[in-house]
Each structure stands twice: as C-alpha cells, then as structure tokens.
C-alpha cells in the first residue's frame, strides 16, 4: 500500500528552516505552508502531503507522485540513465547538477516510465521540482520525448505531471528547443489518436507551461498550483501594477478557461482512472494536421 511506500522514504524536502528547528524536531515535524500549523510528518505523508486542516498541497516528489497514482509494484522506469552534460560549458553547472543528484537521489528533473492505474496500462512523465527547480534541459526534453514516443508505439495513454520553473538557463537555447521537441512528439501522439492527460502541479511556468503542460486532451491542475508563462515580478515591473493574490493560481487559470478541472490530490487517482476507463476504445488516427 501507499503507507509502505512512504515509510521507506527517510526524509522530506520541506524540512523547517533554522529558526523553526528549535520547536520542530528535524525529520519528525513539518510546518504547513498554508496555515502554518505544525504536523507530524507521518500525518502529512499519510494524507499525500496535503494539509488535513487547510488543504494546502505541499510538494510531492516524483516517486511519491508515482506511488499515489500507480498500482503497487506496477511501475517500470525508463531512461533513468540519462544525465546532463554541460554543452555550453556554463560556469558551475556541473557542480549544481551534482549537488541536486545527491540531494534528491535522482539523475534528472523528470522520471518517466509506465505502470498500471487501477489496472489500466499508462505511461507517465513526472517532474520533480527539487532537482534544478524542475527546469527543462536536454535530458528532461529527451526523456519526455522518448516517453511520448513509447506511449505512441505501445498504444497506451500518457500522463505528464509538471512541476517546473521553465527552461533551464544553463543549457541556453538547447533548453528552449526542448519545448518544440516535446511539442512535436505530442503532435504525432495526438495524430495517432493517443490520450494525453496533463496534470499541472506547483509550479508550472515558463517554457514548460508554454509547451507540453498545455497540450493535453485534458489539462488538470492541483489546487493552488502556480501556473503561468511570465513571472509575477516581471509582469509587475512591466505593467507597473500590483497583481491580485490569486493571479496565476490553478483557480485563476480555471476561471480564465485555461484548465479543464482543478483536482485535489486525494481524488486524482480516481478521476484519472475514470478517464482512462472512458477512453478504452481509443482515439481515431487523424488524416489532417489538426491534433487536438
């Protein structure tokens, strides 16, 4: 069960900072980012890292996300051996990668693979914002592209869970081009009648929101997730105006017609498996270029 999976994990990323340490023992307690109340980490974890009091959705790492969507022991990872090089010889990039690898135990900011969701075979790409803020460089673009291609070849649906600050600056325009690379793969996937579900989690911005995150047949988000193209600070500087508090939240995007639905984490697996069930007869291959 989920509990078993979680108990294997030693630590959580959102460990309280220095000042809070006095009253919150490290690795045991965690302060809610929403209501500021302090909880046993176990209690939060049992609740999929959602605050039982205020419903605030805390960060979920890639493997925990997979555990809360997929049936036990059904997940097989793809391409975990891909790692970033330093194509532009960007200063201190290698060190930063190394540090994040140690910190997260991941090789890169996305985990891809396939498994079963209530018995339905499904491919998935899950981004992990702990690794270089989930930013997309060559490896992220390549892994997602390969996963989409695999899903297309195997005729199974594809889910992409985003958590990313956008393109990865240290790989320059190579990162930018991953937006087109993944989007072209998605076009081919749609054309073949594939089902693509996008789940946007906090944060989904920049080059990731402006590519695969918005290209699902269904575009969902978790409550409160930050979703947008340009950063709040840049917009405020440009228009010389304070933006409302709910600007670029999932709820804001829903209101403006950019999302199909905002789905709380605890309900995600059920909604997704219902959708998978409703698409068991598959989609039609399209003759024209029109993809969605």
């Amino acid at each position: 069960m989920l509990k078993d999976f979680f108990s294997k994990k030693k630590k959580y990323a959102s460990i309280p900072r220095e000042e809070a340490k006095k009253d919150v023992p490290e690795g045991l307690m965690q302060k809610c980012g929403g209501c500021q109340k302090i909880f046993y980490q176990k209690e939060l974890q049992k609740n999929l890292n959602v605050c039982p009091e205020c419903g605030h959705h805390h960060q979920l790492n890639a493997y925990d996300r997979i555990a809360c969507l997929f049936d036990d022991n059904s997940f097989q990872e793809w391409d975990e051996n891909l790692i970033s090089s330093n194509p532009l010889n960007f200063p201190s990039y290698i060190e930063k990668l190394e540090k994040d690898r140690k910190k997260t135990g991941l090789n890169e900011a996305v985990v891809t693979g396939k498994g079963k969701i209530n018995g339905f075979p499904t491919a998935i790409a899950v981004m992990d914002s702990r690794f270089r803020m989930g930013s997309m460089g060559s490896v992220v673009g390549e892994k997602i592209t390969r996963a989409i291609e695999n899903a297309k070849d195997q005729g199974i649906p594809m889910i992409i869970c985003t958590a990313s600050g956008g393109a990865r600056m240290q790989e320059g325009v190579l990162s930018l081009m991953q937006m087109s690379k993944t989007s072209i793969a998605i076009q081919r996937f749609h054309k073949k009648g594939g089902l693509l579900i996008s789940i946007m989690t906090n944060p989904t911005t920049g080059g990731v929101s402006a590519s695969f995150a918005m290209l699902g047949d269904y575009n969902f988000a978790e409550p409160g997730a930050l979703i947008g193209f340009a950063g709040r600070r840049i917009i405020e500087q440009t228009i010389r105006e304070k933006l409302p508090n709910d600007f670029q939240t999932a709820e804001f995007q829903l209101k403006h017609g950019q999302l199909d639905k905002v789905i709380p984490r605890q309900e995600m697996k059920e909604v997704i498996s219902t959708i998978l069930d409703l698409h068991q007869s598959g989609g039609n291959e399209s003759e024209t270029s029109t993809s969605v």
Partner: protein, 321 residues
C-alpha cells in the same frame, strides 16, 4: 539621427572625417585627394578589424539596432502582391505580428512575422514586437489557411519575447505558444523560419518550428535575455555582456550547436547598412530551401521535421548502477 554603437565608434568617426575632407576638397582650392585615399584605406582596415571579429555583445547591439530592418522591410523587397490580413477571430488583432499572403517568384506563399517599430510611436503601436496570445492565434490561423491552399510558409522572427502582461496571462499566453509549437509540427506545407533580429525565448519559438531555420549573422536566439540571465546569475544586469557570451546566443553559436541550418551573411556592419543586399541574401537562401523541400512528399517532410528537432540536445547515457 543615426544610432551609433559603442564598438563601432572609431569607424563612424573616421568615416565622418573622410566626408569632411571630401567636402573641403570640393568646396575649396585645397586638394586632399591623397589624404582621403590614405584614410579610406585605413577605414577599410578598421572596418575589417572591428566588424570582422564581433563579440556576442556587439551582435546583440546590432540585433537591437533602431534602424535594423524589420519584417515589413523585407516583405516589401522579397515579395510581390503582399496583402496583410488581420485578427485571430477570437479576441482581437495584434499588431506585433503581421500576417498575409504574397507571391515569391510567382509562387503564392504565406508570410508571418514579428513586427517591431522603428520609433517610439510605431513601437507603442506594435507593442515593441512583443505579442499577446491573439498574435500567436492570428499566426496559427494563417498557417492553417496556408495548409489548406497548399502555400509554403515563411516566418520572420524578431521579438524580445512574448509580452509579460496581465491580460496576456489571462488570455492564455502559455496555451497560445504551446499550441503553435504543436500545430506547426504537423502542417503539411513547407515552413521556413528566418531569425532577422532578436529571437527571444518562447515568444520567438512560437513562430519558429519549421523545416529550415536560418539566422541572419548578427541576430540572436536565446532562452533568456542577457540582462535577465545576468540578474539571475550574478544579481547584476550590468553583467549582460558576460551573460551574452556564456549563453551562446549568436547565429554562429547556434549553427555550432546544431540548432539552425545556416547563417545568412550580413553586409559589413549589419543588415541596416544595406537592406537591398541583405534582402538578396535572404532571397537566395529561401529560394534554395524551397527548391529542396518541394521535392519531399508530405510524410517525409513531417518525419524530417520531427527528426530535426528530435536530435537537438546534448546529454550522456551512463550505465545503470
């Protein structure tokens, strides 16, 4: 009033001096022909010295030059019978993107490009070449039409980026850009993209998925502006010059990274020094590209388009532990 870039000041000053001497020779008894000849030789050398080894930051300055030719400048020279069309049919018309149809050597084509202004008034009208979602949706509408009538598409890329505004976000800037990337992948007609000025991030890319990508020699293509990168990296936008180098954003850089098909040479000192010559160079490139692409059947065209992007990126594959 001509805009003079810092690095080219010696050239401009020398040229002015020569002009002065010429004037004196013409208007007075003093013959300075010998002097002028010597100075012109020196000018030629100086130009080669300065323009021959431009630093990335110099190229950024040229790409942003106030008089740098824009999409409409090239359209007026390269094509005939151009008719501009407006509107995305959902919300409005975005003047920072122009779209229309024309003839290129008797072949009907669709043209889409970012459009900056050359002065403040024009720039306000054109929103400094930074589109809202309706601009991208207008572009897509014309691309779909090009497909319907089997017209090749030529895009000109010249933007600092998609507009970072409240309304742009509310109307789905992300979705508009993403949709273009995806739809351009599947268009059954040839697409040729030419970066003529600044290629600013996703806002540039949204007109930039094609079968051939070219960049003018002094244009740039970047995931973030050098100023933005400097602010993030060193908390100091004054370090933009350094960032421009690190980010590898010039046309020769992109050619080396395997992203673009070719660099289109510019006249000495930049496209603004000789629009006609520049247009001719673009004309030649587009003509050759269209001839090559025309030979392909649709399936091959689309497969090659995917392959082109699929191979962009650099990484390592390690042995699983």
């Amino acid at each position: 009033m001509k805009q003079v870039l810092a690095f080219e000041k010696p050239v401009i000053e020398l040229r002015e001096k020569i002009d002065e001497l010429k004037k004196i020779t013409q208007e007075s008894e003093i013959d300075l022909t010998e002097e002028i000849k010597k100075m012109e030789t020196r000018l030629g050398k100086l130009e080669k010295d300065i323009y021959g080894k431009l630093e990335p930051w110099d190229r950024v300055q040229i790409a942003r030059h106030a008089e740098r030719p824009t999409t409409l400048d090239y359209i007026s020279i390269l094509f005939t019978n151009f008719i501009e069309f407006h509107g995305d049919r959902y919300y409005g018309d975005d003047a920072s993107i122009v779209a229309g149809i024309a003839k290129f050597k008797d072949v009907p084509i669709t043209i889409i490009g970012h459009q900056r202004g050359k002065n403040t008034k024009e720039n306000i009208y054109r929103n400094f070449g930074s589109p809202h979602p309706e601009g991208y949706r207008k572009a897509l509408r014309h691309m779909k039409q090009a497909e319907k009538f089997n017209r090749p598409i030529i895009t000109f890329i010249d933007t600092k980026g998609a507009y970072p505004g409240k309304a742009a976000e509310e109307r789905g800037q992300s979705e508009a850009i993403a949709k273009n990337l995806m739809e351009m992948a599947g268009l059954t007609v040839p697409i040729i993209c030419v970066v003529i000025g600044e290629g600013g991030s996703g806002g540039a890319l949204a007109l930039g998925v094609g079968d051939r990508i070219y960049m003018l020699e002094n244009s740039t293509y970047s995931v973030i502006s050098p100023e933005g990168a400097a602010a993030l990296l060193w908390k100091d936008s004054q370090q933009a010059e350094r960032a421009a180098k690190s980010l590898k954003i010039t046309a020769p850089d992109l050619k080396e990274l395997g992203i673009i098909d070719d660099v289109i040479e510019e006249p000495m000192g930049g496209a603004h020094r000789d629009l006609e010559t520049q247009a001719k160079a673009i004309d030649k490139t587009i003509t050759e590209a269209l001839a090559e692409i025309k030979k392909l059947d649709v399936e091959t065209l689309l497969d090659l388009r995917f392959d082109k992007y699929k191979k962009i990126g650099q990484f390592e594959e390690i042995n699983p532990t």
